[in-house]
Amino acid sequence: MIVRILGEGQYDVADESLDELNRLDSAVEAAVDADDDAAFAPALGALLDGVRSVGTAHDVDSLDPSDLILPPADASIAEVRELLTDEGLIPG
């Protein structure tokens, strides 16, 4: 499946790796739910590192949509919340 890290691009990730990524994703979600800034940054970092290490870069000129989309590495909890609402993703 194809995973996009916003601001970075798309990665091909094998389905077998999803369990591991799911585990890392739960930590991110827990930090967002608890509004825990201290836990959030390392949790997001670990999730993105996980995608980068198990995945390979997807063809840059392909027009394939991603199966999953992740926030940029330097995102804050507030920005992730914003991404999860209906505000401001698509330009102009």
Binding site: R4, L63, P72, L89
Partner: protein, 267 residues
Amino acid sequence: MSIMKRMSLIFRSKANTALDKAEDPRETLDYSYQRQLDLLTKVRRGVADVATSRKRVELQVNQLEQQATKLQGQAEKALGMDREDLAREALTRKSGLQQQIADLKTQHAQLQGEEEKLTLAQQRLQAKVESFRTRKETIKATYTAAEAQTKIGEAMSGIGEEMGDVGMAMQRAEDKTAAMQARAGAIDELLASGALDDASQPGGGDDISRELDAMSSTSDVEAELARMKGLSAPEQPAAIEGQPAGGDILAEEPQSQTQARPAGEQS
């Protein structure tokens, strides 16, 4: 997989609604392509804007560094004239400048990071837009309007997602740059007015951090004074030896002046 799933769903639905506009699906292709070119232009401009901000900060760092060098020179001169009070003042101002320089260098690194990210975003979008153009021509040439629908849907969702991503990267870069622009503007004004001689920080912190800053500047100053005294002490005899004739007469006047002045200032 909640965060990833939720974000993907929302992102995709927004990308689709933003692009799905025209009646004839093949018109949608052209319409979308135009939007892609517009976005590409905006991103190029964004890269140029960030580069301009970065260069502006570079220029400011250079100017502040010149100013610091000048103050250093003044301090050495003042100490050579046995005016430790003036030397201390110059070094205190220099220490204030050095904090500004350190702040600016941090900003510079951030701007450089944004510039690199935007440049990469531009390259990614460029590759996808070119690929979309090829696909668009094929679809328009090969398929009837009805048949084209599916093919178009595939091409559109991929490019829509990329456009959303790039648009967001641009927004983030703009936000960060705008905050720095405001500070850079303030420093430009300070430089223009010559007020940077005054080491007071614009909008600088609470009482405690100011006091801590003052303590560290003081110790910086003391350390530097000590170092300079060590340096300039052996030079003094050499300077006197340089003008042996009439040394007695010349020595008397400045001495009485330097003795009188600090006493007058202290009272």
